[in-house]
């Protein structure tokens, strides 16, 4: 960038003279050219906090694990290029074009399944039309099952368990609790909310036929001012537990309303932590809020992991390591690059398929080759302030691991019939 600016101020003759010099220099340092990775997620607007937090974690992983240790592939640095999509599919298309025109070949994206779906189909089309110029999609968070089932693609890899896998574990956990006889399901009225509702009902019927579904409610996403009327229904339904896939403000408001009504029942969630949620729930949420996720949480499983997280906290005092899977994804990506000695998406994709990897927490990860879905241990944690070493939102509260399953037990069948590119 600096070089470019300076060259503009130079005179034309000087510039042409220099051009030859730069070019000859360039060929000699080409081995040191950075590996550039695009990060397309919301960095402004309503969902900015989650996107920015993800960016910091990716940047930290790149710097801490690779750049500070001399880079990858024999000395090349990793450069993260942030591109703001405001969590809108339209802006995603624009940023995708920009990434392509800047020669970026690997895209990290996580927030919103709607965006991930758009990106997935855009990339498939682009790759079909531009052989040799393919783009790789690293999905670290979008959990719509469709991405590794009906809509699966050779160019898409998912590093989080999808919604059905998570619900499988969650319903196992609920089924273990004999006191739960009546379950109330409430969620946002869109694809993910519907998947949570349908799958929960189906799995609970299978695992605990005696459990009665006493409510199955949908509300418009981000439109509800006050959840108290919904809670009134939950109370009168006599439910013993609530399942919800809500996130963001819809999650906080719902949990707060349930707690404020004096209802003392567990709430099983996907996203009820971090980004202000943990702090807002505070003491009222203790032993009531449960979360299914891929992170081990407290107690931290290894010294290495603890040091890694603490160092992140030191550098970013106002952020938490909310999505450890970003680190997993980057490490596996780099391992694939090293194995294939290439930064070409086709070579990386082949190396990633069926890769087995032991992460910093000591967990076994497997990237299933048939559908490009990660298989990893899943955990259910509870919101508490007891034995919390690494808290959330600097609140003293955090997630404590209560139940874990190994990767093998989280496997669910897929319906992916992948179109593999020929080379």
């Amino acid at each position: 960038m600096k070089r470019l600016h300076r060259s503009i101020t130079f005179s034309i003759t000087l510039k042409s003279l220099l051009a030859g010099l730069v070019l000859s220099l360039f060929s000699s340092i080409s081995a040191q050219e950075p590996v550039r990775i695009a990060f397309i997620d919301p960095l402004s607007g309503t969902f900015a906090s989650i996107g920015t937090s993800g960016l910091k974690q990716l940047q930290y992983a790149a710097d801490e694990l690779f750049n500070s240790k001399g880079g990858i592939l024999g000395g090349r640095m990793i450069e993260i290029v942030p591109l703001d999509n405001k969590q809108s599919p339209t802006d995603t298309q624009i940023q995708f074009r920009r990434a392509v025109s800047e020669g970026l070949r690997i895209i990290f994206q996580g927030n919103s399944s709607a965006v991930a779906n758009t990106l997935n189909s855009t990339i498939s089309r682009h790759n079909r039309r531009n052989p040799g110029q393919e783009i790789l999609q690293i999905n670290y968070s979008a959990v719509d099952p469709i991405l590794t089932n009906e809509q699966c693609s050779f160019w898409h890899f998912r590093f989080d368990a999808h919604a059905v896998m998570k619900l499988n574990v969650l319903t196992d956990y609920i089924a273990m609790n004999p006191e739960i006889k009546k379950v109330y399901i409430i969620g946002q009225d869109y694809s993910f909310g519907q998947v949570v509702s349908d799958t929960s009902i189906e799995l609970l019927r299978e695992k605990r036929p005696d459990i009665e579904i006493v409510g199955n409610e949908f509300h418009p996403i981000g439109q509800v001012k006050d959840f108290t009327p919904y809670v009134t229904k939950i109370v009168s339904s006599d439910a013993d537990a609530v399942i919800t896939g809500n996130f963001g403000a819809d999650m906080v408001s719902l949990a707060r309303s349930i707690i404020d009504s004096g209802l003392d029942i567990p709430i099983y969630t996907f996203y009820a932590a971090y980004d202000g949620i943990t702090a807002t729930l505070g003491a009222d949420g203790i032993d009531k809020i449960y979360l299914v996720h891929n992170d081990a949480g407290n107690p931290l499983p290894s010294e290495e992991r603890l040091a890694y997280t603490k160092n992140f906290k030191r550098l970013n005092p106002n952020n938490d390591m909310t999505q450890f899977r970003i680190t997993n994804a980057l490490q596996m990506l780099v391992q694939a690059m090293e194995a294939s000695q290439s930064t070409d998406p086709f070579d990386i994709a082949l190396a990633l398929e069926d890769m087995r990897f032991t992460n910093m927490s000591g967990e076994e990860l497997w990237m299933r080759g048939e559908d490009h879905q990660i298989i990893q241990p899943l955990h259910i944690s509870v919101h508490t302030d007891q034995n919390i070493v690494v808290d959330a939102d600097n609140s003293g509260f955090g997630l404590y691991r209560d139940f874990s399953v190994l990767g093998d037990e989280t496997v669910v069948d897929h319906s992916c019939r992948m179109r593999r590119p020929r080379r």
Partner: protein
């Protein structure tokens, strides 16, 4: 069934009265300046954030007193130094200005406070159940919300209809030139009304923040519904806004509580559709699912059948 009805009514009252605090300021400002203030809900959000910051240092009650004053002062400044200048260029310019201001405030809030949810809590003093009915608690804080809202309605109504200031304001709304000729400072009155209107929105933000959560999207969620109320109630009518607020609060609350839907209607009509019917989504629609949309449906109906709103007088 009775318990659901009782609690739905209470929930509806709380929401309705909260909406009224916003709508009252908006409708006053409209009747005065002839322009809908799109940034009105932003002042509500500012109230919540100011009070949150103050409550960290001085506690909730200080926030309740100081935050609305700050918001009101900010509102008055906006009127004096921005809106009044824009006013010279007509209503469209004013409309666009307030529209832009709403975006500006939202971005500013994210800039200063961050995008995540703020841990703004109700005071410990009110952290007890006021009463328990059918096993469900009604928190003292919600009782407090009702009291404050009703108190403000009564005070406002008294001030506008019985006091000298109120008479001058009412006169300034309909006959600004005459009032000016009588020696009153009409621009000052406008500024004061704008300040008080935004301060009311600030109060609403202060007391709603702990219950409805304080986050940068809180203005957007409430903004559109407040316009609906003002239009249904009749632009410029305080009484109309009051009735419309309660109506919408209760309507939403009852709609969520009910379990009725298209399947019941079809049953009653004796019709049946298979699950793969192309309009299956329509035939399975339930009232709770569309509850948050109902106010907008009501708005359309009111505009068709009674364009002036319930108590509106504007015909010109």
């Amino acid at each position: 069934m009775l318990e659901v009805f009782v609690f739905s009514t209470l929930n509806g009252l709380v929401t309705g009265l909260l909406l009224f605090m916003l709508a009252s300021g908006l409708t006053l400002i409209f009747s005065m300046m002839g322009v809908l203030n799109f940034a009105h809900a932003s002042f509500y959000m500012l109230g919540a954030y100011f009070a949150y910051s103050i409550s960290l240092k001085l506690g909730f009650w200080a926030g309740l007193l100081i935050a609305p004053l700050l918001v009101g002062a900010f509102g008055a400044l906006v009127e004096r130094y921005a809106l009044r200048r824009v006013h010279a260029h007509g209503h469209v310019a004013e409309l666009v200005f307030t529209f832009g201001l709403a975006f500006l405030v939202e971005e500013a809030v994210q800039f200063f406070w961050g995008a995540d949810t703020k841990n703004y809590q109700s005071p410990d003093l009110l952290n007890f159940p006021l009463f328990t009915l059918f096993g469900q608690e009604f928190s003292a804080y919600r009782g407090f919300m009702i009291t404050i809202s009703v108190g403000i309605f009564l005070a406002l109504y008294y001030m506008l209809t019985r006091s000298r200031i109120g008479i001058i304001i009412q006169a300034a709304i309909t006959h600004p030139h005459t009032v000016a000729n009588l020696g009153h400072n009409v621009p000052l009155i406008f500024m004061a009304v704008f300040g008080v209107g935004t301060a009311l929105a600030g109060v609403a933000g202060v007391i709603a923040g702990p219950v409805l959560t304080t986050f940068p999207g809180m203005a957007v969620v409430l903004g559109s519904i407040v316009f609906v109320i003002v239009v249904i109630g009749g632009l410029g009518s305080l009484g109309g806004a009051f009735v419309a607020s309660l109506m919408i609060g209760l309507l939403q609350s009852y709609a969520i509580a009910s379990n009725l839907g298209m399947p019941d209607l079809l049953n009653w009509l004796g019709l049946e559709f298979s699950r793969d019917h192309p309009l299956n989504d329509l035939w399975t629609l339930t009232l709770p699912q569309i509850a948050p949309v109902l106010p907008f449906l009501l708005l359309v109906l009111v505009l068709i059948f009674r364009p002036t709103g319930l108590a509106g007088k504007r015909e010109e």
